[in-house]
């Protein structure tokens, strides 16, 4: 029990004293996940909006596929990205394996379906509400997309934060393609796994606390935004 207390104290000291190794790991984790979410947003939001507004053969199939990809096991994504980036893989020439870029790619693969699926849901619901009014105002289906994206902005930020939550907490895929190399690809989740196995609980606990703090903050923002979006939507229901 005394050991646990000592580990907690050490963990707290690491956080409060600004331990350079700990904060370097936190910074790299944030950089990788923020980049991954931004790239996923650029890819996923237009796909989601297009699936919500456009009508074309195979649309339903694409929606099912996208929803299925949301639940894709991260280790399998890691394995697939590893095979693509490995020396003998089709993208081996880029020499990206065991770099932060490889981790970003893996997270993009994991997060894009989430952002695209949530965007589609949000935009489709709003499009249903706005459809007749926008047509009456002479707004074409294509021109309605930016209107819908802007008016759904709160819900779309929620989708981005949900994607970020998934990315920052990811361990399986990034450890496969990142390799957990010290000072290069070691992020919070992979460090926690490694340090726990080594018995260095102080660093693992400190990172765990920061990770939980980030998760709580993200969820609090998601909650606040969802509530606001809901109130906006309900006021005129």
């Amino acid at each position: 029990m005394q050991n646990f207390a000592a580990e907690f104290n050490s963990a707290l000291a690491l956080i409060l004293e600004g331990d350079s190794e700990l904060w370097a790991i936190v910074l790299l984790s944030l950089q990788v996940s923020v980049f991954a979410v931004l790239i996923s947003a650029v890819i996923g939001m237009p796909i989601g909006a297009a699936l919500a507004v456009a009508r074309f053969p195979g649309r339903r199939m694409m929606i099912v596929l996208m929803n299925a990809l949301m639940g894709f096991p991260p280790v399998v994504v890691g394995l697939l990205v590893y095979l693509m980036l490995s020396r003998s893989g089709p993208l081996g020439i880029l020499e990206l394996l065991y770099t932060p870029t490889a981790m970003i790619i893996a997270q993009v693969v994991l997060v894009t379906p989430i952002i695209a699926a949530l965007t589609r849901q949000v935009i489709e619901m709003l499009a249903e509400e706005y459809s007749e009014q926008l047509r009456s105002l002479g707004v074409s289906r294509l021109a309605s997309v930016p209107v819908l994206l802007w008016d759904a902005r709160l819900a779309l930020i929620t989708a981005l934060l949900a994607g970020f939550g998934r990315a920052i907490a990811e361990v399986g895929a990034v450890i496969i393609v990142g390799g957990n190399i010290n000072h290069v690809t070691r992020v919070m989740t992979t460090t926690i796994a490694l340090e726990t196995s080594k018995g260095n609980l102080a660093l693992a606990l400190a990172l765990g606390a920061i990770l939980i703090g980030i998760a709580v903050a993200v969820n609090a923002i998601v909650s606040a935004l969802s509530l606001r979006a809901e109130q906006e939507g309900l006021r005129h229901a």
């Binding site: 509400e129 706005y130 007749e132 047509r135 009456s136 105002l137 002479g138 006021r235 005129h236």
Partner: protein, 244 residues
């Protein structure tokens, strides 16, 4: 000869209009011509096809048969751009009151100054001048409907369709909407409005279209239709009886 004249003058006409669903005709209008200068009010029980007719006239629904003719030609994009519609439940953009109006004005390629002046003018017209920066979604029901009407008027429509705009409003809010409708009508905007409120029809209508079961059962000057109804369905509806 009369057909040709009514098609060529400034009028809106539904010819042999039919909308079907599951083999049943939801709307079946043989011939309806709206060419009077004052507001036209469409009355009838639930399911009579009033809102469906309005949507067909505005081009939101394509009929399965027949056509809508305006100014002698089938309804086209040019005509639609000169129409506006206000729905029973106002659909406001998730933006400020002013931004809802600006959205429409921007689409008309107005200058920034022109838009600003027009927004002030419209807000004053609707009594919303102190709500300019407020979120449109936080307006009361009456205010929201007034904003929806102002946004429709911002399009400078020749024809304004209103689908039961006061059905959920109190008498005071209803009165404000009715004043706006009458002012628009006096400026030359053709008003075509659906209502359940016979009193409202008496207050606003120049002519009344009475509908039942997807058909137009009577169309004529308001006084005539409301005081001396020519059909049994109209008589029963106006007497408050059940119309089947």
């Amino acid at each position: 000869m009369r057909d040709l004249v009514s098609d060529m003058t400034n009028c809106l006409r539904a010819r042999d209009l039919q909308v079907r669903s599951n083999g049943k005709a939801l709307l079946d209008v043989h011939d309806l011509t709206l060419d009077g200068p004052g507001p036209t009010l469409i009355l009838g029980p639930n399911g009579a096809g009033k809102s469906l007719l309005l949507r067909c006239l505005h081009g939101l629904i394509s009929p399965d048969r027949g056509q809508v003719v305006q100014d002698g030609t089938p309804l086209n994009a040019y005509h639609k751009a000169r129409q506006a519609m206000v729905f029973q439940r106002p659909v406001l953009l998730r933006r400020s009151v002013a931004a809802n109006l600006d959205f429409v004005l921007k689409r008309q390629n107005m200058s920034r100054t022109g838009r600003k002046d027009r927004i002030v003018e419209l807000l004053t017209e609707g009594g919303l001048e102190d709500k300019s920066r407020q979120s449109a979604r936080s307006l009361s029901g009456g205010e929201a409907q007034r904003l929806a009407i102002l946004r429709a008027l911002a399009l400078n429509p020749e024809t304004l369709f209103l689908d039961e705009p006061t059905s959920a409003l109190d008498p005071s809010a209803t009165q404000m909407i009715e004043r706006m409708v009458l002012r628009a009508s006096s400026r030359g905007v053709r008003i075509v409005m659906v209502t359940h409120d016979i009193g409202q029809a008496r207050r606003l209508a120049a002519d009344v279209v009475m509908m039942q079961g997807g058909h137009v059962v009577e169309h004529g000057p308001a006084k005539q239709v409301l005081d001396v109804p020519g059909s049994e369905a109209s008589r029963r509806y106006l007497a408050g009886g059940l119309v089947t």
